[in-house]
Amino acid sequence: MGAGVRTEGLRKVYTSPPPLAAGGSFAPALGKRGAKPKKAFQVVALDGVSLEIRAGEIFGLLGPNGAGKSTTLGILTTRVRPTEGHAWIGDYNVWQQQVHAKRLIGVVQQRPNLDFALTAREILSFHAAYYGVAPADRGRRSAELLERFQLTDRAHEMVRGFSGGMMQRLAIARAMMHDPQVLFLDEPSTGLDPQTRLLLWEIIREYNRSGRTVMLSTHNMEEADALCHRIAIIDHGHVIALGTPYELKHSIPGGYLLRLKFSHHSPEVVERLRQLPGVTEVQIHGAGAEGGQGVQGAQGAQGDGVDLYADRGGSLIREIVAVLAESATDLHDVHISEPSLENLFLHHTGRSLRQ
């Protein structure tokens, strides 16, 4: 059975450039210019983060680069010392009972940090030895994981020549080698091709089904949405929203996006669409778009059309069709998006997660 994870008022202020253990990426330094050189560097990476992750849950930290995700994971995995606050893995205080806490966790850091002096199989096998796994079990389990991560044919090679994706897969296999109760993954799918990403998601779900707790960080909202039972959205060291993907997406009005394409449109049509009950915003894209009125994230939009933000989805279609029929406009395509985490982030911060 997995263990729960808890943090209370975590705060981290870096007074020197953060080590790679913390992910190494940060929002611009907040230190003031002209201050004494010794105090010039000060970054508040976390400012009072309290979280409770239940045993057996897949929990995601979602936020842009520099939000404090890696620092949170760093503190939970004994790699970054908090300036204030406490963290627990199961019943163990991470900073007072470090060795007990370490036994319960497996960690995949943001950059693959494989032991370049060893082969793939040796990396897994020595890792298990550090945790006291018996030699026979080491061999069996490393063979299983190499197979599962499609690395069997490279098992006896030194990892220096591995591609980024292979290194990442091996790093994840390594973290699972001692069967930890809580698996931490910092941006696990960065650098993976779509196919491997799906394999990774499947493996994470499978691991979680065996009762293990998984905590991951990501700046990819599709990943958070697809994988996590609950998500904390984090920005500038604060948790700005917390809940299941469904709860989060429905916590703001106008969360639905209806992307419409039609033969042509006029300002009157757009205005009439804007007046429909439940519609909060209409953005024009395509050939008819006016200067500066492009659409965020409207890749691949072709022809005339609008993006319509509303607090409902399918039930609006009939009214839209009626409006278009009255002005003799043909509707070519409709795409309805459920409320998204991107919209939520935008709502809370005024910025896109993709920025």
Binding site: V99, L114, D115
Partner: protein
């Protein structure tokens, strides 16, 4: 303390060392043997040095080989593993207090220094030929000095490895290692510096002086050397200091 984890970490280092055995041996042995041949054979057979130089040179060569091997064995992997690749992460996460990983590094560095000493002594002896004139009348004292030298080398490696970045390795050699060797009383006894009183006092800050003089005092006691008990005391103090500094720097480097 989790000995199983500690043993597994030692096994990992031993495995890597075994894989790189040939390179390691060449790296450790070639240069000292060249020195022994040129200084101990060529210069002596050509009459530029007296034959008694053989006995003076061998303990110095043994000291410098042990010290450089230990420093190299601990510092170089650490510098690499703490850099961008963070190869050391997985071991820092092992279920053990991280200080013990540093202790493991010291222990493994010591072992490598001891092996280097154990190889260079008979090989150097062989290369020098007859008339080296080395004795082991005080085996316990000699062994104590050898152990203290091995701790100095690996703890020094830990302190250096945690203080130097990858881009400063060249600087480390030209600014730290090279002066340490040449003012380390390796190729001459400390008493030979009496014509340079200031330098003679200054080199007492160099721990390699005590390593060389300590081995000289226990292997060729008939020659001038610093009192061996004083040497052992200083080496012990240096060892303790370097272990404390090394552990402290390791901790600061390992945890953000």
């Amino acid at each position: 303390m989790n000995w199983r984890t500690f043993a597994a970490l030692l096994a990992r280092d031993a495995h890597v060392a075994r894989r790189n055995l040939a390179t390691l041996l060449l790296q450790t042995m070639l240069q000292p043997m060249l020195f022994v041949f040129v200084f101990g054979r060529v210069l002596i057979s050509s009459g530029m040095m007296t034959a008694s130089y053989k006995g003076l040179l061998l303990p110095g060569i043994m000291a410098v080989t042990m010290v450089i091997t230990g420093i190299w064995a601990v510092a170089m992997p650490l510098i690499a593993e703490f850099q961008f690749t963070r190869e050391i992460e997985d071991r820092l996460l092992a279920p053990m207090r991280i200080e013990w990983l540093a202790v493991e590094k010291i222990l493994f560095g010591m072992l490598q220094a001891l092996v280097a000493g154990a190889v260079v002594l008979p090989t150097g002896w062989l290369v020098l030929g007859h008339g080296v004139g080395i004795t082991f009348n005080q085996p316990a004292l000699w062994l104590t000095v050898v152990l203290l030298v091995s701790v100095f080398s690996s703890a020094g490696g830990l302190a250096l490895g945690c203080s130097v970045g990858q881009t400063q390795i060249g600087l480390m050699f030209s600014m730290v290692i090279a002066p340490m060797i040449f003012f380390g009383c390796v190729y001459y006894p400390w008493s030979a510096l009496k014509g340079f009183p200031v330098i003679q006092k200054l080199v007492l800050l160099n721990p390699l002086v005590y390593a060389s003089e300590g081995l000289r005092g226990t292997m060729v006691p008939r020659m001038d050397h610093l009192p061996t008990l004083l040497v052992a005391g200083v080496l012990l103090a240096v060892d303790v200091l370097l272990i404390l500094v090394g552990l402290n720097r390791f901790n600061r480097k390992a945890v953000g």
